[in-house]
């Protein structure tokens, strides 16, 4: 039960409290920006290379899998490797937001019960941390550009807009999944399994365009099912510009629609259940 506001002096509605949570959390960006960065340093404390390990492990994975799948699919390495690399970097951000998002409030139980901070602080911290991971991985992309130059144009800058959209979506995903899975703990393993599965269903290692244009009509037909996969569209809007490829506007349309619907759902969930999170953790 959300709290019933019946006070006579300046009643604050549940909507106002929701907005105040989001805005108040944003106002504390010094705190979550610091903590997000701290989380990354923490993971690599006492290692000589520190957060550079993020970059290195991404490079190793992308090169190894790039070579493997270029061989398996018979694709040229200069096509397969950049494709896999960008796919991995973006997927890392998406899966991080979902997997850590579903645990965000449970993991911060101590802070939530001891300090009256807006819940959104924990979510902004998470998305910021994932963004920092993303930026570390982007170093590999820049190195890759030197080895396999991509036909980048001014339009490639739309990747920045796409990244911003990914972050905006990361916030609602973490808020919504965080609230629901704090109440129903089973959703954590469920969503983790689904994310694992979606990794294979989403064109990250396999090249979507190749399957669509496959000479085998059955394969081409089946590949179209991927359009129903929301992750495909999130991936396309950022991967295409980073690889200097053309993209269809429908991917942007789908992403924008998901952004609006997702935020609407999240705001409703927050209005109703935000105040319960402290009771549930």
């Amino acid at each position: 039960m959300p709290c019933v506001i019946a006070s006579t002096s300046l009643p604050e509605t549940a909507w106002a409290r929701t907005v105040r949570d989001l805005a108040g959390g944003w106002a504390q960006r010094q705190l979550w920006a610091h903590l997000g960065w701290q989380d990354i340093r923490q993971r690599y404390r006492r290692s000589v290379l520190g957060p550079l390990w993020i970059t290195i492990s991404m490079a190793v994975t992308a090169v190894a899998l790039g070579i493997l799948y270029a061989g398996l699919f018979g694709n040229p390495l200069e096509t397969q490797l950049p494709y896999i690399l960008v796919g991995f970097i973006v997927w890392g951000f998406i899966s991080g937001c979902i997997n850590e998002g579903s645990e965000v409030f449970v993991a911060n139980e101590g802070l939530i019960k001891q300090l009256p901070a807006p819940l959104s602080v924990h979510v902004y911290r998470l998305v910021w941390r994932q963004t920092l991971f993303f930026l570390h991985n982007l170093v590999v992309y820049v190195v890759m550009l030197a080895i396999f130059p991509q036909p980048l144009t001014w339009r490639s800058l739309t990747a920045l807009v796409a990244l911003a959209l990914l972050m905006v979506n990361g916030v609602w995903v973490s808020l919504l999944f965080g609230i629901v899975s704090t109440r129903f703990r089973d959703l954590v393993p469920i969503s983790q399994s689904i994310v694992q599965l979606m990794f294979f269903m989403t064109p990250i290692v396999w090249i979507y365009g190749d399957l669509l244009n496959s000479s085998n009509p059955t394969v081409a037909e089946r590949a179209r099912i991927a359009e129903f996969n929301p992750f495909l569209h999130f991936l396309e809007i950022i991967r295409a510009p980073l690889l200097g490829q053309d993209q269809h506007w429908r991917h942007w349309a789908v992403v924008l629609a998901i952004t609006v619907v997702g935020w609407a759902l999240t705001l409703v969930a927050m209005r109703k259940y935000r105040s319960r999170v402290a009771y549930w953790v």
Binding site: Q28, Q114, P116, D186
Partner: protein
């Protein structure tokens, strides 16, 4: 204006055991229907009918036995728990001092922890950097401040936490006792700083079992029993009733 106002506020904790918290049970419950008491989540009534009106300048002590609801009430007054029924309105920046360890990271240095702790309490980085020398002096930790917090003893951690907490300017200060594990000389020093802090704070609520501390810091008191307010009033009267002491004799003529 700094104030805390609650009207008939209730805090009920649902206790989800492993079964009732799972989605499976909820889904099955929806399909099957007709599960009576078993499907209900047991609830702990932590606070009942809490009506308080605390304003700028008030110094409120909180007394009661263990489990009477003192800590939960502090969390209600801080805005961490919004009441399950009734209302609560907290106006002002809250500095809760419940658990000195929370928000402290053992892997980073004392200095970094000072900054983070301050940010958690609503200060800006700039404000904390300005205070860091003062805090360092107070804690007497010297070069240890550059060491990771995990190398600190419990007492040293308490010093650090107290140093930060007593350096801020809170509008609403909520203190839960548990400020132990410090040596006597240091505690004397901390007392001075604590009462300075209380003087700076717009409003204080302090939960303690120590009469001496309560008398030093508070003027009024709330007596909690079984999650309800048993009595509110001037500190001396509430303390007397709480202890079951007789009314003071009429002053001799």
């Amino acid at each position: 204006m700094v104030s805390i106002r609650t009207v008939d506020a209730t805090v009920d904790f649902p206790i989800f055991d492993a079964k009732s918290r799972s989605l499976k049970k909820t889904v099955l419950g929806m399909v099957g229907g007709n599960i009576d008491s078993e499907s209900k989540v047991p609830v702990i009534n932590a606070l009942r009918d809490i009506t308080v009106d605390i304003n700028h300048g008030d110094r409120v002590g909180l007394v009661g036995h263990n489990g009477a609801g003192k800590s939960t009430l502090l969390r209600l007054l801080s805005g961490i728990y919004e009441p399950t029924s009734g209302t609560s309105e907290v106006r002002g920046r809250v500095a809760p001092v419940f658990d000195l360890g929370v928000g402290m990271d053992p892997e980073i240095s004392g200095l970094e922890n000072i900054i983070i702790r301050g940010l958690f309490l609503g200060m800006t980085r700039k404000q904390m950097v300005a205070r860091i020398d003062d805090i360092a002096d107070f804690t007497e930790l010297g070069d240890f401040l550059r060491m990771p917090l995990r190398t600190y003893s419990t007492g040293m951690r308490v010093r650090l936490a107290l140093g930060v907490v007593t350096s801020i300017d809170p509008e609403i200060l909520l203190l839960d006792e548990g400020i132990g594990a410090v040596d006597a000389a240091f505690l004397e020093k901390a007392r001075g700083r604590l009462s300075d802090l209380v003087d700076r704070a717009g409003l204080l609520v302090f939960a303690s079992h120590s009469d001496e501390f309560l008398e030093q810091l508070c003027t009024t008191a709330i007596w909690m029993e079984h999650g309800r307010i048993k009595e509110q009033g001037p500190l001396s009267a509430v303390l007397r009733h709480y202890k079951g002491l007789p009314e003071p004799a009429e002053p001799a003529p």
